[in-house]
């Protein structure tokens, strides 16, 4: 049965999407991140959802744009930034979507508005997970907690979280698979949301467009900048080099000086709390033993 609201918990943030019109949300699990059957008392963001016919572009004072036309993903263009009143916005224009022309999410401190431009105004039920809107929303919200997204794989091994990052094709998924074969659990092998907390830096999985999961998290004990190698090596990195090498694999939308500096400071803060290593590995389980022997 469809519902007028859905509540999700992503990276420790609780977000409620609430229809203020006739639209209803399909009874999907929000790729596994829906909060089901529990009374939600503390929400971080309460988002109203309604169809609309137009949005005011003149209210945007700064923006960052990504254009995904001509890529392997369905054609779309996204824009995020700030409005004159300080609230944040995300707009996704779709060029290959059967349901939406565009969608716009405006985020205040605790309230939000999700406007849907539907191709068919008679549509009564929608899937609340809209890609890439949700992922961009997660990046904006965790930024408020000095967190950020990073292309990486993360595993949890006896309570120890290890993060592996590099450009695509280097071996993040291979590394995750090696750990899984040795009894560890994979938090995610593509993208994680890192959020600093009182007891450490926590890596969280986020909803992915093509499969369902459940919320998973691990407190990081080590960050590994990986490369392929004929022999295994693990070399500690410090200072600016560690932060900047790690930063190159993080997701950033530096549309203002403040945003650019904050992102750099957030990444630096993480690398100051979690040891960073340069790691070269051959694709077998020896590397798992080598990392375990670090006793981080």
């Amino acid at each position: 049965m469809s519902s007028p609201e859905v509540v999700i918990n992503v990276a420790g943030m609780v977000v409620r999407f609430r229809s203020v019109c006739r639209l209803r949300f399909l009874p999907v699990e929000f790729r596994g991140f829906a909060v089901v059957g529990a009374q939600v008392v503390d929400m971080d963001i309460d988002v109203e959802v309604a169809p609309t016919s137009g949005h005011d572009e003149s209210a945007c004072v700064s923006s960052f744009v990504g254009d995904c036309r001509g890529t392997e993903m369905p054609d779309h263009r996204w824009e995020t930034g700030f409005l004159a009143d300080g609230s944040e916005y995300i707009v996704v224009d779709f060029y290959d979507n059967s349901l939406y022309n565009w969608v716009k999410l405006t985020l205040g401190q605790s309230k939000g508005l999700l406007q849907l431009s539907l191709k068919d105004s008679s549509v009564a039920e929608v899937d609340p997970y809209i890609f890439p809107l949700l992922n961009i929303m997660v990046s904006r919200l965790i930024r408020r907690r000095h967190g950020f997204l990073v292309h990486s794989s993360v595993v949890s091994d006896n309570g120890n979280g290890y993060l592996f990052t590099a450009v695509s094709g280097t071996g993040k998924s291979t590394m995750a698979g090696l750990w899984e074969s040795m009894g560890a659990s994979v938090i995610n092998d593509d993208m994680l949301a890192l959020v600093p907390c009182a007891d450490g830096v926590v890596a969280n999985n986020i909803p992915m467009p093509y499969y369902s999961s459940t919320p998973r998290r691990a407190t990081l004990k080590g960050i590994f900048l990986i490369s392929q190698s004929k022999v295994n090596f693990i070399n500690p990195m410090n200072g600016a080099l560690a932060a900047l090498r790690f930063l190159s694999n993080t997701i950033s939308q530096p549309c203002t000086k403040a945003a650019a500096v904050q992102h750099l400071e957030d990444v630096s803060s993480v690398t100051a709390r979690v040891p960073v290593f340069s790691l070269g590995f051959k694709p077998d389980v020896d590397i798992v033993r080598d990392i375990r022997n670090l006793n981080l």
Partner: protein
């Protein structure tokens, strides 16, 4: 003499004691690398931002470091031209 003018598309920050030049961008397509400034680069950059012209900066470098005029001239101009090539400054 041409004046060096900021394009206001960067921010400076400090990471682990190093000065980092962070680009500000409005698009994925125009994101570029950030740069770690060594001591001399940070010295020159601070003087650029305070409005000193290139000739005065060269004199500052000669006075501050144990280098001759020719060496200072080459280093400062190389750095300044690099900033212009990367789009952080332009000449008026």
């Amino acid at each position: 003499m041409q004046k060096l003018v900021s394009n206001n598309n960067y921010a400076l920050s400090t990471v682990a004691g190093d000065t980092v030049l962070v680009p500000v961008s409005d698009s994925v397509n125009t994101l570029c690398n950030l740069f770690v400034l060594n001591e001399l680069a940070a010295f020159i950059f601070s003087r650029i931002e305070s409005g000193r012209d290139v000739a005065d900066i060269i004199a500052d470098v000669v006075a501050e470091y144990d280098v001759d005029q020719q060496r200072a001239d080459a280093d400062v101009n190389e750095f300044v031209n690099g900033l212009v090539d990367k789009g952080f400054f332009h000449f008026e």
